[in-house]
């Protein structure tokens, strides 16, 4: 899978590094001083690198737990995210990562223990700050800069964090994924405060834009298995793409999803339109000038590229009304502007 593995000097003797490198005995290991030397170099070509990314193993210094952007949440007023990994196995054409990062190489931060310490300290301070009786528990999102599960065989993230999450029932932890690598989850007793949230798009969208990701049917099958095993799952219809036939596509998606899944057991369902910060959008346009997804219907509104208002309204109204025929209002969350959930 990897021809080259860059290893930060500081973690060269880390047992996790040894375990990961042992999986790729033919990879050339290159010691670097800091991962930024490789990852943050200017004038890199994300599109080229994505054809054959390298792996970078490093220590995450500084702030490891960050506040989630406004509007990002599933019912808590206290939302955080942390990234044990940067970049993703899959190559979804709409993904903001290709606009955010200079490099497509995958970075794994191996200092999991420090992440856990920081999460623990944050939970203590959040819980201990005399919350109001109706305060929501803090939520932690793990799949912001990567797919939480796709690289499990390399990172061992779920293996190493599940018991930690279970030991912190005062917080909620979300895995965000498209992966069907759920063996670790199925081998573990379900944990009440862990939500496995799947990103889903209509089949035609997945085939066209989600390069390398498991097809819709496989994801639904994985979700059904998780539900049957007692895991709490969530649905993330994000990003919603406006295309000719999106109504039929979304209807069919919902039919397929709710045929397979028990709506009554879902934790949360989110809707979100395709949107990108301006700088990310411009970088992605330069990378993929021929890509119709990035050329159609989008306009700059306050530094964010999203669909023009007539398309946005159509998407929001149609998708919300269709979805609400399947789920109760209290588990529905939307990032469409002007919605209060």
């Amino acid at each position: 899978m990897f021809d080259f593995i860059y290893v930060e000097e500081e973690v060269a003797d880390h047992p996790r590094v040894a375990r990961i490198c042992a999986r790729f005995p033919d990879a050339q290991q290159i010691v670097v001083e800091r991962y930024g030397e490789v990852f943050n170099r200017r004038a890199q070509d994300f599109r080229l690198q994505k054809q054959r990314p390298a792996l970078i193993l490093a220590n995450k210094h500084g702030r490891r737990i960050l506040e989630a952007p406004e509007g990002y949440g599933i019912g808590s007023s206290r939302n955080f995210y942390f990234s044990h990994m940067l970049n993703c196995l899959y190559d979804c054409r709409y993904c903001f990562l290709q606009g955010m990062y200079q490099s497509a190489h995958m970075v794994v931060f191996v200092n999991y223990e420090e992440f856990k310490d920081d999460i623990h300290a944050l939970i203590k301070s959040e819980i201990g700050s005399a919350p109001a009786p109706d305060a929501t528990p803090p939520h932690f999102f793990t799949g912001y800069d990567c797919d939480s599960l796709a690289m499990e065989s390399v990172t061992g993230f779920a293996s190493e964090f599940l018991s930690f999450f279970a030991a912190h029932p005062d917080a909620l932890f979300e895995f965000r994924t498209k992966s069907v690598a759920i063996d670790r989850l199925l081998a573990t007793d379900p944990i009440e405060n862990v939500v496995i949230a799947y990103s889903l798009t209509p089949e035609a969208v997945g085939k066209r834009f989600e390069i390398g990701a498991p097809p819709l049917a496989s994801r639904l099958k994985a979700m059904a298995r998780l539900q049957e095993a007692g895991w709490v799952v969530g649905l993330r219809f994000d990003p919603l793409i406006y295309y000719e036939g999106f109504r039929d596509g979304f209807r069919e998606l919902l039919e397929a999803a709710f045929h397979k899944l028990d709506a009554g057991l879902l934790h949360s369902v989110c809707l979100g339109p395709f949107r990108l910060p301006r700088d990310f959008y411009k970088r992605m346009r330069r990378l993929y000038p021929e890509e119709s997804l990035l050329a159609y219907g989008l306009e700059d509104s306050g530094g964010v590229y999203s669909y023009r208002s007539d398309l946005m309204l159509e998407l929001s109204e149609f998708c919300s009304s269709e979805l609400m025929t399947y789920i109760p209002d209290n588990i529905f969350f939307s990032t469409f502007a002007g919605t209060d959930r």
Binding site: G245, A295, Y296
Partner: protein, 280 residues
Amino acid sequence: MRDPIDDPSGGIALVVALAAEARPLIGRFGLRHLHNDGLTVVYGAKGLTLTVTGPGSEAAAAAMARLQGLRGSEAPAISLNVGIAGCGHLPLGTAFMAHAIVDQRSGERHYPTFPFRPPCPTTTVITVAHPVDEYGADCAYDMEASGIFEIARGRSELVHSLKIVSDTTARERRELSARRVEELVESCADQIENTLALLRALTDRPSPLSERDPVAKELLSRCHFTITESRQLLQLMERLRAVCPVDVPEAEHLLTHSRGRGQQVLQLLRRQLDLSQLRL
């Protein structure tokens, strides 16, 4: 034939330090003499240039900067440094690529990107100011790579160094002749050509905001557009070609319906885009 230095298609820049390294490549690729300013000699043909920089990292960096000046705004899509190197852990005559380049004097490091499986062994190349007598176990030594990367890397991702082991000991290094250098490069000419083909395959993708779009070209030549409007025109054309390639209007149609006014052309194109659909 268009001078390859002026070739706007991007092209390939081969970079060597020594005339002896250049001679086999000049023959292999049928290159002709293009430029000599007394410091930098450039050969070229068919979108490929070969620059002889002279020995040493500083000379290499200076030559690369001069080459960029000659090329103007068009950076080559591929820069490949070819040359000899001392290496204690690979057999004589082995071709290898650098996966890391370290400037011994400054400590600066470069890490070439490999969006392809390397076609040969790779190792760290240490660029030295003076030949070394002790060869490390896991690296090679040259005198130019760092200087080349310092300049070339800022403008292109596909910058690589392919070296041929010319000496495995200090004694072999001292016995090197120009003839022997030429033989070594000649012996790896196939690998050099294959590596170029590998790199070339990676550059095949659409160029953005291309003024070579025939409709845009015609509109720009027959209508008045301000600089901002020209840029908007290219962006709109690019978006239209991405979203609805079969529905891109002909220039004549746009000219007729806009009465030759640039702003009107832009409005027509925006309307066309608004009426289009994203089809999967």
